[in-house]
Structures are given as C-alpha cells and as structure tokens.
C-alpha cells in the first residue's frame, strides 16, 4: 500500500466520522445506477413482489422439491387390496352317480330306469327288448347294485370316492363305498387290505390313498386342488350349518364365515360361504390380498397429495411436472426472443427490401392460426408414435417458432425510432460494424421491453403447453407436466371424486402464470422512467 492510498483511506474515515460535506460535494447526492433504480422501483411495487415470491416458491418447489422428495418421477406405488374372490364351489351330491362295470349292458337308458325304480322302491325292473329282469340289490345304505342274468353290470350311489392321483376301478370304488356306507369298515381286494376310517378316508395297507364323501368341492380359478383336511372341515362346516338352518334357501345368499386353521402353516384362513339356492350349490369365497397399483389413493402421510391414475405420487409428479413446464417455458421464450431480436433487429436497422420481406413474413406468421397448427402437429405425432422425449423437443421448437413474429415486430418498431438518434450517428462515425451497431447499441436499448415481453411470454408459453398437454397432444407420459397431470379430469369420475388429482396442478399453473404476469407488469412499470411512484 502506498503512502498516498493510506492517506486516502484515513481521510475517508475521517470524513465519515465528521459527517460533514460541503454543499457542492457530489457525495451529498446519493447516486443509483439505472439498474438499481429499476430494482428499487420494482421492489416498491407490492403486487410485483408477491408475484416474485410466488415464482421463487414455484422454482424451489419444482427444482429443489424434486431432489428432496423421497420418491422418483417415474416411481409406481403398489398396495395390497382385499378382494373377495370365488375360490371354490361345493355341492352336496344329491343325485345318484353311476359306477359302471359293464358299459355295454349298463347303458345310460338302463342307468336312468334303474334310478327311477330305486326312487320308487322297486327291487327289479324290465327293459323293453330284454326279457330278463334287472335286479336292484341294496348292499348298503344308499348303495345299490344292479345285476341282470346273474351278472353285476354296475352300481348306483350318492357318495363319491376320490383317490389321490389314481383312478379307481369298479371293484375298488364299489367296495370302498360299501365299506363307507355299511358298518363293515375293512375289505380285501386282490389280496390287499383296505380300510375306511370314520371320516371316510380310504387306507391301503394303512396308507391313505383317498377318501369317500358325499360333497363335491371343485376349485375355481387359480387354486388347483384343496387338501383333504380342508375339504373335510368344509364338509363338516356345511353339514352343521345346513342342519342349523344357517343357509337360507329362499334364493337369498346369506354370508357365513368359515374359519379354517391350516394345519401345515397354523394360520387361520377366513372364507365366506354362501348358498346359492338356484343350483343348490355353496360358493366359497375368500378375501385375497392382491398386489395392485396404488391408484387414486387419497392424500395420506406417505403421499401428501395422494396418488394419481398411474399409481404415482402426486406431489412428486407435480414437482417434476413443474420442472418440465418451467423448462419448456424458458426454452420456448429463449427461442422466440432470440429469433425475434435477430429478425426484428435486421429488419429495423436495414429497412428497405429486407424490412419489407421480413415484415411480410411476420404478417403471414401472424395470420397462421397457432392453436389448430399445434393440434394438427400433435395429432400427427400421435399417429407416427413419436418418442415422448423427441416430442417434447419438437413441441418447444414449434412453440418458439410460432412466437417470434410478435417480438420481431416490437424490436423493429423500437429500433426504427432509435436508429435516428444521435448516439447511433456517433456509433456509425466511429466505424463500428453493422452487427456491432445492431446488437451492442440498438438491442440493449430495447432490453426493457424485451424483458417485459419475455416475462409475459413465459406465462403464456406455460399456458399453451398446459393446454396442449391437457388435450393429450403435448408432453406425454411418462413425463409429467402440469397440463398432462390435469388431463385426468377428462374422466368425469375423476372430476367429481378425485379432486387431488387435478386441482393442485391447476393451482400450480394458475399461480405460476399469474406470477409471471405480475412480475412482467411490475417490471414494465419499473422500467418506465415516467412512473412517478
């Protein structure tokens, strides 16, 4: 530090301490740069400051919020949903079933006649075309053997033998049923000992191979078969409830709970049993937890704004949607402003034929209806199946390209009046190039209007993007944008029931566009030197 500087500093300190300036001292007048003046005027405008704070909040929400949020933009959520699913039908076998030994003689007409006569209580019957009578021999309670000419041709019974994994021939079937229905619980067949236990289980050499029951339990859907234990429990349950009259038979389905304790896992499973009188069948239903997309769930602790139609977290989608909407807005405005500056600057500075040409292009662009064009291009991209990312880029380019004529028009008008001023003559006299004169001397003078129109343009770009996305022609899934989030409201059910799906996004759009407009207004007033306030 030189002596001189040191002295200066000391002097300054001294002056500040004394706080006395001479009357003609420049330091008495507080001088603000033009930028600071604008900022001061802007911040004095309370509404504009409100707009600015909304904007800051929206930016934080969109750009920081996405980082803070525990969820991802494309993260799906699932939940377990309890659904009643029909898993089985049970039927008490009230019809006779036939055990066929001699299929040639025990034809279906003989079977039918036999059942008819059993019901009548006859012990024999004849068939036309066959002189010898058919004998009905009741060998056990509910088991009838049919024979003709001393030959057993088949049997009729209401109970059923089901074997694990093998088919039973006539003899095994008949003997097992006979053993089940009579008191004699054991029999010998082909030198093998069989036993039927009390619950109807059929044991071969002490090993269980099947069981006899008068209920048919048939699985429905994904369940392939039930364990015998389950079937027995169910049968017991049906019998006891049936006797107690718990099932209404007047056609109305009474729901009765059947609790089954799974012996292997020890868990209790609850089934809902209802009786369908129309086909005298029990329907066994079960609450099954299904792993499904967490669609349209209401706001909760995990999802502050609920989830939307694809099972994604609404708040996170809103944050990422804000990013997309804001970024699209900025890029669109950047494209249209730069194009507008270049075209308007050239047109205004050079005038003549160039000006005429550019202004006619502007006239034509003004006349081209932009909304229909965007809709047609959107529909065409739909038809071509354009990738969502590329689609988004196209959207920005098209929106930017459709927007520049307005800015070019404004820039040209300003430059036309500016280029006649003295500083431009001076710039020309110093021999600056045309490019430099336009972009260094003229355009900065248009900056205030440009900033205002860009701010307003941001709002309208977001609005246009949202409208297109709402129509399904803008930003597409899997990307979120505020417009395509509201798209769900096209479904009247969503409109009326799931308010959290569309209202927050709408408020986001409204607030952001409003804030851009407020800030734009505030900036215009602040830039205007005529403004007294």
């Amino acid at each position: 530090m030189t002596e001189n500087n040191k002295y200066d500093v000391e002097k300054n300190v001294q002056v500040e301490e004394n706080e006395t300036y001479s009357l003609n001292d420049d330091r008495r007048v507080k001088v603000l740069s033009p930028g600071a003046m604008v900022a001061k005027r802007f911040f004095r405008n309370r509404i504009a400051v409100v707009g600015l704070s909304i904007l800051v909040a929206m930016f934080l929400f969109s750009f920081v919020g996405g980082v803070i949020s525990p969820y991802n933009e494309k993260q799906f959520f699932y939940r377990y949903d309890q659904r009643i699913k029909e898993i089985a039908g049970a039927k008490e076998n009230t019809d006779f079933r036939y055990l066929i030994k001699d299929a040639d003689r025990f034809t279906s007409i003989v079977q039918a006649t036999a059942v008819l006569n059993i019901n009548k209580g006859e012990s024999q019957f004849t068939m036309t075309g066959n002189k010898s009578p058919y004998h009905i021999n009741q060998t056990a309670e509910g088991l009838y053997e049919i024979s003709v000419d001393g030959h057993v041709i088949g049997a009729v019974c209401k109970s059923i033998l089901s074997l694990d994994g093998e088919t039973a021939d006539y003899d095994l079937n008949y003997n097992a049923l006979k053993a089940f229905l009579s008191d004699q619980k054991t029999f010998v067949l082909d030198g093998v000992n069989y036993e039927v236990d009390e619950t109807g289980g059929l044991l071969r050499d002490g090993k269980e191979i099947g069981y006899v029951s008068s209920y048919v339990v048939s699985p429905i859907g994904a369940v392939s078969d039930f364990s015998r234990d389950f079937k027995e429990e169910l049968q017991y349950f049906l019998e006891t409830n049936d006797e107690a009259g718990n099932f209404k038979r007047n056609g109305e389905n009474e729901k009765t709970q059947f609790v089954y304790k799974n012996p292997t896992s020890g868990e209790e499973e609850t089934y809902i049993v209802s009786f369908n009188a129309a086909d005298s069948r029990w329907v066994i239903k079960r609450y099954q937890a299904e792993y499904v997309y967490d669609l349209y769930s209401a706001p909760s602790k995990e999802h502050w704004l609920g989830t939307e139609g694809n099972g994604m977290d609404m708040l996170t989608r809103l944050m990422y949607g804000g990013r997309v909407s804001l970024v699209i807005g900025f890029i669109v405005v950047f494209i249209e402003t730069s194009l507008g500056i270049v075209m308007g600057g050239i047109s205004g500075y050079f005038g003549g034929a160039v000006d005429f040409l550019i202004m006619r292009i502007v006239d034509i662009m003004f006349c081209i209806p932009s909304t229909p064009i965007l809709i047609i291009i959107g529909a065409a991209m739909d038809a071509l199946g354009v990738d969502p990312t590329i689609r988004m880029i196209y959207l920005m380019l098209i929106l930017g390209f459709l927007g520049w004529p307005g800015i070019a028009h404004m820039v040209r008008g300003q430059i036309l009046s500016l280029r006649e001023q003295e500083f431009m003559t001076a710039a020309e006299a110093t021999g600056l190039s045309a490019k430099r004169r336009i972009f260094k001397h003229l355009v900065p003078n248009v900056m205030p209007q440009l900033i205002v129109s860009a701010t307003m343009g941001l709002g309208s770009a977001i609005l246009v993007e949202a409208t297109l996305s709402f129509l399904g022609l803008g930003v597409r899934f899997p990307f979120a944008s505020w417009g395509n989030i509201i798209n769900g409201v096209n479904d009247t059910y969503v409109l009326t029931t799931y308010l959290w799906v569309w209202i927050p996004a709408g408020i986001c759009i409204l607030l952001t566009v409003l804030a851009f407009n407020l800030v734009g207004d505030g900036l215009r007033d602040a830039f205007d030197p005529k403004m007294k306030r």
Binding site: I368, P372, I373, I375, I376, A380, L463, I486, G506, V513
Partner: protein, 328 residues
C-alpha cells in the same frame, strides 16, 4: 382513404394466398393416414379392388397425387369457387358442415362478447380513475387471474361446483335428454340453459385483457394536458372523466372492439371441446385429430381470413374514429 382501403385489401389477399399455401404445405407434409385407413376399409370389402388401387384412386380424388404446388393451385381453384371439397370425417361438403355448426359458435361469441364489453370497460374505467387504490389492485388482480387461468382448469372447476355439487347445469352437450319432447320455447330455454357455463367460461377468461387495455388507455388520457385543463377550469370530476377522458379512451377501444368482431365467427376451440358443444371449434378439433384435411384446411384458412379482416377493420376504424389520423 379509398385508395388506402383498396391497397390494404389487395395486400391482405396476397397475405391470405401465402398463408393458405403455408397451411396447405403443412397439411400435405403430414402423414395422411386417414386416406390410408379409408382405403384399407374399402379394400376389405368383398370383391373389392386392392388396397393400392383404392389408395391411388382416393389420392387422385383428393388431389393428393400431385406435388404440393400444383395440388395447392388445384385446391385454390376450387376454393375460389367456394368449393372446399367433402369433409372426410363428416362425409358431407365442408361448407355444409360449416353452415350447420357456425351459428352456435357465433351466438356464443356474440353473447360473451357483449357481456365482456359490459363488464370489462366499466371495470377498466373504475380501476384507472382509482389508480393505486385497493379497488384498483383488486380489479387488476382479478383481470390478471382471468388471463392466467387455464381454460380447461376453470371449466373443470365450474363443472365441479355448478354441475356436480349444486346440480344446476349439465356437464356436457347442448341439449338435454328430453329435448325432443319440448315445444319450441322449451327447446330454446334448454339450449340457453346448457350455454350458461360455456359462456361464463368465455367471459371470465376474456374480460382480463380488455379491462387492462381500457385501464392503460384511460390512464394515458387522464394524464394528458386537456384533462388537467378540464380539471383546472373547475369541471366536476364526473364530467372530466366521462365527457373528456372516457370519450377519448373510446378511440383505441372502438378500434380494437371493431377489429375483434370477425373473431366472433372463429369459435372457441377449447371451451367448445370441453363442454362438448357442436360449434365450429369442437367440429374442427375433431376433424383435426382425425386427420380430416379438407375441413382443417378450410377452418384454418377461414381463421386467417378472419384475422386479416379484423386487422383491416382496426386500421380503417382507427382513421374513421380519430380525425387526427391521416392515412397515406
């Protein structure tokens, strides 16, 4: 004046020519899948020609087999004779479909435009005369909110409140379920009832810009010298505002209002679509999404024409209303 108008009309026709060409070129660049769909359908029929033959025949019928430039002149030649071809998706001549649907849009446009004028201009005047007061802030904020509201969001809100919660109006459509059983007065009332929400939507969304325009111009006039003079000579404030200031504000207002008159025919694309009203906007939206080139082409050229006529009216009115303006 006469010379100026003739010159402007000629320039407008030239611009319209180029606009139509741009639109035609754009439409031709699109994949004309609709023709292909029709050709495929026709070739599916028994004993039919092959797909390629049908496609060639249809392309020839719609002037799609030529290049863009000769195709455009073919279209233009017909269009000058007001023959815009047959709409593909409506299967009637474009002009017939147009005349079927335009009047609904026009009626909606006129009603909402009148309401807009009645609401926006007084509000703008009030806001300007009470500049920086609370009233001014509230009005300006409402106007800005109207501009910033997305149409679809506002329409959905209206539907939720007035159709679903209160049940006053129906969600969609122009006519109710029992429309055909009503007498003509009842039919009129039914239609009017269905138009309440759409017109509300249109009015709320459009008053903002006109109100702000009124306010800006009124402020400009209020700060001018002759208003100061009027105040200085002791005129009551009412006279200053309505006799001196407001009449001069009318100059820009009349020009812009006159310029937006042709726009009454343009229909409200989004609003009509949201409420399912069979106006020109909804019809053309459906045509555009279905790739109906003749109708979309017609609609867009029609819109451009309306814009040009609107600009022309604005410029002429500007000279007519304000005697200080001399047109070269």
């Amino acid at each position: 004046m006469k010379k100026y108008i003739i010159k402007r009309i000629l320039v407008s026709i030239l611009i319209l020519f180029f606009v139509a060409f741009c639109i035609y070129a754009l439409m031709r660049c699109l994949p004309h899948s609709y023709v292909e769909t029709i050709a495929r359908q026709k070739s599916m029929q028994p004993n039919s020609k092959s797909y390629e033959e049908w496609l060639a025949q249809l392309n020839a019928a719609y002037n799609l087999d030529k290049n863009i430039v000769p195709g455009f002149f073919g279209w233009l030649g017909n269009a000058i004779r007001l023959d815009f071809g047959d709409s593909w998706s409506w299967t009637v001549p474009v002009t017939q479909k147009f005349s079927d649907v335009i009047w609904l849009s026009f009626v909606m446009g006129v009603i909402s435009f009148v309401l807009e004028l009645i609401i926006a201009i007084p509000l703008g005047v009030v806001a300007a005369t009470h500049q920086y007061s609370k009233l001014d802030y509230v009005i300006s904020l409402i106007a800005l909110a109207g501009i910033s509201l997305p149409t679809f969001f506002f329409a959905s809100l209206l539907k939720l409140v007035f159709s679903v919660k209160l049940g006053w109006f129906e969600l969609y459509g122009l006519v109710g379920r029992y429309y055909n059983q009503l007498d003509s007065w009842g039919q009129f009332l039914d239609k009017a009832h269905h138009l309440v929400l759409p017109i509300t939507t249109l009015v709320v969304l459009s008053i903002g810009s006109l109100m702000r325009y009124t306010r800006t111009n009124m402020l400009e006039v209020l700060s001018s010298d002759y208003v100061r003079t009027a105040r200085a000579k002791g005129l009551p404030e009412k006279d200053v505002i309505f006799k001196h200031a407001f009449r001069n504000t009318l100059i820009p207002l009349v020009t812009i209002v006159g310029g937006s008159l042709p726009g009454l025919f343009s229909g409200a694309l989004i609003t009509e679509t949201l409420y399912g009203l069979p106006g020109i906007g909804f019809t053309s939206y459906q045509s555009m999404t279905q790739g109906d080139i003749p109708f979309s082409m017609f609609y867009m050229v029609f819109l451009s024409m309306l814009t040009l006529v609107g600009n022309l009216i604005t410029d002429i009115l500007y000279a007519v209303v304000d005697p200080r303006v001399r047109l070269a």
